[in-house]
């Protein structure tokens, strides 16, 4: 069944090493996996497992030392810095742990910002930003400044901003790390909704209960992938056992 679906992320034998002071650190020791269109994948791992390094590579903020990474069919290793910027702009929607909104821009302008780098006309950018703001339930807060919002609301703005250019994949790096458990549930519900609407989501987390909300979980340990679990399968089994 998976053979017929479009591959969004294809990582093959990716190794990443870098210098930390005088020590050479091997952050990723040969990682390979694929993410298909419409999947909701979580990457689980404790700190030091290499998941942040992997996230940077998947987000085209960094390049692998060896191995290949193809995003939506494009080989990242061949691209220049400005082409990478274009990929980040159009293909990737970033969601960060600390929201990373621009403090001088209001909600609408924050959501519309990626469109500026995509050279979208102003009206179209704001039209789309309004639409995305509606999607994440922020209709009434479009003219608020970030400091006037709660953590959950700021993360909603960040999600709307990530969605605004309809990227191939949403990359969420500990998206609920700074939120209380109630708000965490709300954000994860929103992710569920986006998943049902057809978005491809890849989420990095170190919390098992967050990872369990996804449909597929990749576990990382010490720079290597340790497991690949189809949570849908388990969920169905659990449901079957309960009934």
């Amino acid at each position: 069944m998976e053979a017929n679906r479009k591959v969004i992320i294809e990582v093959q034998d990716v190794v990443k090493q870098y210098l930390m002071g005088l020590n050479e650190v091997l952050a990723l020791r040969g990682v390979s996996f694929k993410v298909y269109q419409g999947e909701y994948v979580s990457i689980m791992g404790s700190s030091g497992s290499g998941k942040s390094t992997l996230m940077n590579i998947l987000g085209c903020l960094d390049k692998p030392s060896t191995g290949t990474y193809k995003l939506d069919g494009i080989d990242i290793a061949q691209l220049t810095e400005d082409q990478l910027a274009g990929i980040r702009n159009l293909k990737i929607g970033f969601i960060f742990q600390s929201y990373n909104l621009l403090p001088t821009l209001n909600v609408l302008e924050n959501i519309a910002l990626p469109g500026m780098y995509a050279d979208l006309p102003r009206e179209q950018r704001f039209e789309r930003a309004l639409e995305m703001g509606h999607k994440v339930g922020l209709d009434k807060r479009m003219d608020h400044m970030p400091y006037q919002l709660s953590g959950g609301q700021m993360q909603r703005v960040a999600i709307a901003r990530a969605l605004t250019l309809k990227p191939a994949i949403l990359l969420a790096d500990e998206p609920t790390g700074n939120l209380d458990s109630k708000t965490q549930e709300e954000i994860l519900d929103l992710f569920d909704q986006l998943y049902r609407d057809g978005s491809t989501i890849l989420m990095v987390t170190h919390e098992l209960d967050v990872a369990e909300r996804s449909r597929r979980m990749l576990s990382f340990h010490d720079g290597k992938q340790s497991s690949d679990i189809d949570l849908m399968f388990f969920k169905k089994q659990i449901e079957a056992m309960e009934t």
């Binding site: 903020l61 910027a85 702009n89 970033f94 621009l102 910002l113 500026m116 102003r122 250019l165």
Partner: protein, 388 residues
């Protein structure tokens, strides 16, 4: 790229730190304003001198003997005879002497001249007549006075044509009144003019130190100046250092050059403050890049290219320096016109210097903003995102 959107972003960034932006601009404001003030006053001065040259009409050669030496009394006639290019001329002696009119007494500048003087320096006769060749040859005790507000004040009474005044206790009849005119030759206002032949009896002197000559043709003036100088040095055995022979336009031109040089030097010093302003901009922008490292990381993560970041920061410095330049021009024009009014110095609205100051200010902004902007553009997004 949609430049207008970048402009809005930059304006917003500047507005969020107004005081800092203003302080950053201040260096440029002061620099541009002082350049505008200095150049506008300098230009005004130059224009005043030019106007004076135009007003003069006929160009004259002025001979000055410095130091202790004098030209002998007969020198004037000899020079006139020896050099055919000389159309006419006049010796010039002057000194403040005691003058009495009715019961009033004062020290007044007495000028001894040949009657040619009035024509050479285009004096305007208001009443009576000018001195003439007869007065000169017969050493008549007659004089011409200037009409100024000061002359009435000085004498208490207003001497008229026909009045008799006493110079050094010798009676002189006033034969004419001329309008006062500022000039390079006569040292004081409300001078009294007598024939140089008569002057000798008022104040015995071994000769004279100044004289004026007009040429038959204005183009002959440079040659004539040289001839006069050589003749004076050779015939009257004067040290070349003591003799200056200069045409009036030359003299004014050199005055003009001095003003221009002084303007350039002070303007250059003002230019240094522009440079300092530029360094201020660079400093603030570097601080700004460091402060906004995380923001730059975010922008890069959501797809800003290096070019976009570079442009975004550059446009901020361009706005700051443009505003600084504009404020500086208007401040400078305001100060210049105020100074001009307060001191009576002429001032010119200096269009070109303003433009130069403005352009230089913007250029300074771009140049000093480029390095910080480049630094921002080249930031590694991973490191930038990790910054706090």
């Amino acid at each position: 790229m949609n430049y207008f959107e970048y402009l809005l972003m930059a304006l917003r960034a500047i507005r969020s730190k107004k005081i800092r932006a203003f302080l950053t601009m201040l260096g440029l404001i002061i620099g541009v304003a002082s350049i505008v003030v200095i150049v506008s006053l300098g230009e005004g001065n130059k224009k005043q001198i030019q106007d004076e040259i135009k007003k003069m009409g006929n160009d004259l050669v002025m001979v000055n003997i410095q130091g202790q030496s004098y030209l002998p009394q007969e020198a004037y006639a000899q020079i006139c005879k020896a050099i055919p290019e000389i159309k006419n001329g006049t010796p010039l002696v002057q000194e403040a002497l005691g003058v009495q009119f009715t019961s009033a007494y004062d020290q007044v500048n007495i000028v001894g001249i040949h009657p040619n003087f009035f024509k050479l320096t285009s004096q305007e006769l208001l009443d009576g007549r000018l001195l003439n060749a007869y007065d000169f040859l017969r050493r008549q005790n007659v004089c011409v006075i200037e009409r100024t507000a000061a002359s009435q004040k000085m004498f208490g009474l207003n001497p008229r044509v026909g009045s008799v005044i006493r110079i050094q206790n010798q009676p002189f009849t006033v034969v004419g009144v001329i309008k006062h005119k500022d000039s390079q030759f006569v040292y004081a206002q409300n001078s009294i003019y007598v024939c140089s032949t008569t002057y000798r009896f008022l104040k015995p002197q071994p000769g004279f130190k100044q004289s004026l000559f007009a040429a038959t043709d204005i183009n002959l003036i440079p040659r004539m100046s040289k001839q006069i100088r050589t003749l004076i040095i050779n015939n009257f055995h004067l040290n070349p250092d003591e003799v200056t022979v200069q045409s009036l336009s030359e003299f004014l031109k050199s005055a003009q050059q001095i003003v221009a040089k002084v303007t350039a030097v002070i303007g250059g010093i003002a230019g240094i403050s522009l440079l300092v302003g530029g360094i201020g901009i660079m400093n603030i922008m570097l601080v700004s890049v460091t402060e906004r490292t995380r923001e730059i990381g975010i922008l890069k993560a959501i797809g800003a290219s290096q070019r976009a970041i570079l442009f975004q920061f550059l446009i901020e410095t361009i706005i700051i320096s443009t505003m600084g330049g504009l404020i500086g021009i208007f401040l400078g024009l305001g100060i210049a016109s105020f100074v001009a009014k307060a001191t009576g110095l002429p001032s010119q609205i200096p269009v070109i210097p303003s433009l130069i100051g403005f352009t230089f200010s913007v250029l300074t902004g771009i140049l000093s903003g480029f390095y910080p902007a480049y630094k921002a553009a080249r930031l590694n997004p991973v490191d930038a995102l990790r910054a706090t």
